[in-house]
Amino acid sequence: MSAPVLRLSGFGKQFGSLRVFSDVDLDVMPGDRIAILGASGSGKSTLLRCINVLETPSEGRLELDGELVGQPSRAGDMRFSERELCALRQRVGMVFQQFNLFPHMTVAGNVAEGLKTVRSVKSQKALERAVAELQRVGLADKADTYPSRLSGGQKQRVAIARALAMDPEILLFDEPTSALDPALVGEVLGVIEQLANEGRTMLLVTHEIGFAYHFATRILYLAEGGIYESGTPDEVLKNPKRPLTQQFLAEHRRFQF
């Protein structure tokens, strides 16, 4: 029996008086692919962003490979030093809905940047590595172009390559296809599927329920400030037990044919 790569316990986040979620307990095992579903505003992004501490969690513990990240403060919440944050984020990569590529760098420059600046890899080596990562997402021929010349789908694939270049143990995707034209969604999901086949550990926030069903080993449905329902795709998506999940899925199926 292997140990979890990521463990959240009593995890919670508040913005002022707004309690987004609380008491979240989650074990992520190596190779787990967790799809996170939920209505808009249910806290999917916030949960993901608390995992790599782009938002500072208000309560609870975050462990990576059995090691606590951050130091508990006297008030009970966690404090993170810059050094800890940088180490954490190299191990937990993130892909954003809006891509957030660096517009002043070439495609290869974007992918090589983390290696060069964070890992102090020599420029030449980093670029070679970047091209190899771009190959994996099918964009090696775009290495010298600037992001503005790419389609949304290509941008998102570059963003995935940029995250992969750091060799993260876990990848977080926050609605990676929500900003894309429907015609471009497939190429990005294709890359994510390929990563799944490689056995990568991933957490994916998505509205593509069909993809979530095929992709995920586990589904979390967020509502009412926490994990409202969870289980295998068959359990949660085919036979949801709780009313809000049923309602959400019914809503999504309305125009299916």
Partner: protein, 224 residues
């Protein structure tokens, strides 16, 4: 009808040239110092540490809201009393214009830095960059492009403001011109030449600047 006669002025051309050189030296000194001061003030003002943020804010506001001539007199006549040091016109002028233009540059830097989308910070953080690495590799390169036009405008403003040093007898172009006008009794010709010198050099700088701006715009891209 006034009879123009430039020959006495041109005969003493070297006199004006010395002044022009001094103006350039002062401008260059104040500009390079001002950029450094501006960057430091901007970072201080953006900092979360109150002991950095508050003093930086005060310096910036004081230097932006007091007349440059008052600042110059304060540094030239006032500061020596406080520090009991010998003050030269050049030193006083350099200090004044460094800090003064630094205060303006700081606001330009700050505006440029905060204009960069939050997503850029987040993407840089998400691959493990520190605050300083984000700033240096991701934020500043983009911000500088956006700031460039206002920086050039400020630099030109600085060159014009340096004429104030004539009042503390630094031999800049204006000071030399004034001397020459009194010597030759040809103020109209002298100040016409001086105006021309400023016109030509500042137009030249503007021209170079706009070419650089176009070059910048071509390199890489801007996503709105």
């Amino acid at each position: 009808m006034y009879e123009w006669d430039f020959s006495p002025v041109l005969a003493e051309g070297g006199f004006l040239l010395v002044g022009f050189r001094n103006t350039l030296v002062l401008t260059a000194t104040a500009l390079s110092g001002g950029l450094v001061v501006g960057l430091l003030l901007a970072f201080a003002r953006l900092s979360h540490r109150r002991w950095l943020k508050v003093p930086a804010g005060i310096v910036i506001e004081v230097f932006r809201t007091t007349p440059p001539l008052v600042q110059l007199f304060w540094f030239y006549f006032g500061l020596p009393i406080v520090l009991s040091i010998e003050m030269t016109p050049f030193l006083a002028a350099s200090l004044t214009f460094m800090i003064q233009s630094g205060a303006f540059f700081a606001e330009i830097f700050r505006a440029g830095i905060v204009s960069i989308e939050r997503g850029q910070w987040e993407a840089a953080n998400a691959i493990g960059m520190t605050y300083n690495q984000c700033m240096r590799r991701v934020i500043l390169p983009q911000a500088v492009k956006r700031m460039f036009p206002s920086m050039m405008e400020r630099s030109i403003e600085l060159m014009k403001t340096t004429t104030l040093v004539a009042t503390v007898s630094y031999a800049d172009l204006l000071f030399q011109a004034n001397e020459l006008a009194q010597k030759t009794f040809r103020p109209l010709e002298v100040f016409t030449v001086v105006a021309l010198i400023y016109f030509v050099s500042i137009s030249f700088i503007s021209f170079i600047a706009s070419r650089m701006e176009r070059r910048f715009a071509k390199s890489g891209e801007f996503t709105p």
